[in-house]
């Protein structure tokens, strides 16, 4: 049986992993919601961000706190996401319906392969950021300060995002476009601009996830597609385009992954997918999704 200390540690680790997954999958779900295009290159942006943190950490000789790279990386990746939408997603949106069902998958998969290949040329090995702060002692438990800080920052980002989406005009416009793109258009929302901003936001959320993930595990250039697959699972689980659903799905996946891999690492991903398929057979539209309709 698990000791109480192990339970606290595993739950915290699960919450942190779930939090990271939630940033990643909320990023994916809002971009899907607005553009109705599944971006298979989403995880690549996370990998690029993690790679940048690693290079930054190596360059500064490990003296600078890697959390500070968050402040530099998110704006840069916001711009990349904005341009990604402008030059790749928007031309795809103009395709006829029957092309729209498959072309975006091929194009974004192609972009993902290109990014992975180039990243592998830069760093052809597993990379990690061996940075840790002195441990914290609370109630007789010894916990990793780095992980606690990550958990706090992840929560802060998630709260900030929620406030942004609920309180600001742009946030409301994003949610309106997710609900009904054409209705948003008739209400005078510049849907194209909102779409580009959403991709910027989604990609910078992936970048934030990358900064936190590289602090807890080693990654390599080919981590993007498997991580996109996880984000896709979470997004389907939560209901496509649903932010609350993604948050909940990510926490479920994060905690189950940590607990399952405590017993058997091989099963962590499978359990997640099995939960996913079961839920989908009961509710094809996902946990929080609306009735599935034709795009």
């Amino acid at each position: 049986m698990l000791s109480p200390i192990a339970i606290v540690e595993l739950t915290l680790a699960g919450l942190l992993l779930g939090g990271i997954y939630s940033l990643l999958s909320i990023g994916l779900t809002i971009t899907f919601g607005v553009a109705r295009i599944l971006n298979l290159a989403h995880g690549e942006f996370m990998m690029v961000s993690a790679l940048a943190v690693y290079l930054f950490f190596q360059f500064t000789g490990g003296t600078v706190n890697p959390f500070t790279s968050l402040a530099i990386l998110t704006p840069i990746l916001f711009v990349s996401g904005y341009l990604f939408e402008r030059f790749l997603i928007r031309p795809l949106r103009r395709k006829p319906v029957e092309v729209l069902e498959w072309a975006p998958l091929l194009v974004t998969l192609g972009v993902a392969l290109i990014i992975e290949d180039l990243a592998f040329i830069i760093v052809p090995r597993e990379f990690g950021v061996p940075y840790s702060l002195p441990p914290t002692k609370i109630l007789g438990l010894t916990l990793s300060t780095t992980r606690l800080t990550s958990l706090l920052l992840v929560t802060a980002v998630a709260l900030g995002l929620t406030l942004f989406l609920r309180k600001t005009y742009t946030g409301k416009a994003i949610r309106a476009s997710i609900q009904d793109r054409e209705a948003a258009l008739t209400m005078g929302i510049n849907v194209n601009r909102i779409s580009a901003i959403t991709f910027g936001l989604g990609v910078s959320l992936a970048a934030a996830a990358g900064v936190f993930l590289i602090m807890i595990r080693g990654l390599d250039a080919y981590v993007g597609l498997p991580i996109t697959a996880k984000a896709v699972a979470i997004v389907i689980l939560g209901g496509m385009g649903s932010i609350m659903g993604s948050l909940l799905g990510a926490i479920i996946l994060g905690i189950s992954e940590v607990y399952v891999s405590f017993y058997s690492p091989a099963w962590s991903f499978t359990v997640a997918w099995a939960i996913l398929i079961l839920i989908l057979l009961l509710r094809p539209q996902g946990l929080f999704g609306k009735r599935a309709e034709r795009i």
Binding site: R36, I37, L38, P91, L92, R94, K95, P96, V97, E98, V99, L100, E101, W102, A103, P104, L105, L106, V107, L109, G110, V111, A112, L113, I114, E116, D117, L118, F120, I121, D180, R181, E182, A183, L225, A229, V232, A233, I236, M240, A266, W267, F269, T270, W273, A274, L276, I277, L280, L281, P284, Q285, A292, E293, R294, I295
Partner: protein, 313 residues
């Protein structure tokens, strides 16, 4: 069919059937690989070209068929009995698991079938006491390139003929009516759910048959070979590159893309993934009708909705 067509088909068939007798081991496995991808691309397009549903689970069906066969052979069962069982099991899996997916439409359907393929990949890793995990399963059946070739050739022919027959049949007309508008098809009295099940079943037969034949000549399976991401998207890429909705398109696409894959992966170029990625981007962005679509004279089915640039949210 016109007699000239039958005669030329017979000549091509005779030529193709005798080639492997003179080929070396590598050439034989390459020919088998071509046939395999033609089968997968045609299967994908029997569903997508007729009904419009983009199903990314055909590779997974093929993959489960290879695994079922390899496991049965390991268990010491007879080759033919194992083949039949593996084919039926994977067909049952394809239809049983695939049927509820039809509760979704459009991009949602595509993404859920992608989910099924990714689940298959991770299951093949996780169920390591039967699948051998990442080590996979080796089966030693001796030199089986020729039987595998004749088997794959038969399945390919069956897939081509089926594709052609559907194209000309009332069933094909019903499929295409459904593709243009599901609601209109229902209003016309067509049972769309049963049509979808029919197309799924027909298109899943060929990957189920091909699985055991692949194991026969490759004598090894592991999760990456059969369920890998490159494979999940391969049939779709080939069919769409060649020209979806035609019989010739998927065949041409499969042959060209397989050639490119083989060239890239035997030369070990450092940028081979970049080249593959670039092909995907070009096909998706610039070639909505594929190669066959470029020569409009060869295009038989046209999309009536092609002019609509706006999609419903």
């Amino acid at each position: 069919m016109r007699p000239q067509l039958i005669i030329s088909a017979a000549i091509i068939a005779a030529a193709v059937l005798t080639i492997p007798l003179f080929a070396t081991g590598y050439q034989r496995s390459l020919i088998n690989l071509y046939l395999l991808y033609v089968i997968l691309a045609l299967s994908f397009d029997i569903l997508r070209g007729n009904t419009g549903y983009v199903n990314l689970a055909h590779t997974a069906v093929f993959g489960w068929s290879t695994y079922f066969f390899a496991i049965l052979i390991k268990g010491g069962y007879n080759i033919l009995a194992s083949m039949a069982t593996a084919t039926l099991l994977s067909l049952a899996l394809a239809v049983g698991v695939g049927a509820p997916f039809f509760r979704t439409r459009g991009a949602y359907y595509t993404i859920i079938t992608l989910g099924f393929s990714l689940l298959s990949y991770s299951l093949a890793y996780s169920l390591d006491w039967v699948t051998g995990g990442w080590e996979g399963i080796s089966v030693n059946l001796g030199e089986m390139h020729l039987p595998a070739f004749y088997g794959l050739f038969t399945v390919t022919t069956a897939a081509v003929v089926t594709s052609y027959m559907i194209d000309r049949s009332k069933l094909g007309l019903a499929f295409r009516t459904m593709r243009e508008s599901e609601d209109a098809a229902e209003a016309l009295g067509l049972d769309t759910y049963s049509l979808k099940l029919k197309s799924l079943t027909i298109s899943s037969i060929f990957p189920s048959l091909a699985g055991p034949l692949y194991v026969l000549y490759n004598s090894y399976v592991n999760p990456d070979i059969v369920f890998g991401l490159k494979n999940i998207f391969a049939p779709a890429t080939m069919a769409l590159f060649g020209g979806s909705g035609t019989v010739a398109g998927p065949i041409i696409g499969a042959i060209i893309i397989t050639t490119i894959f083989e060239m890239l992966f035997t030369t070990q170029l450092p940028v081979r993934l970049t080249i593959m990625g670039a092909i995907l981007v070009v096909v998706g962005l610039l070639m909505p009708r594929g190669l066959v679509g470029l020569t409009s004279r060869m295009r038989r089915r046209t999309f009536t909705t092609a002019g609509l640039g706006v999609s419903k949210p």
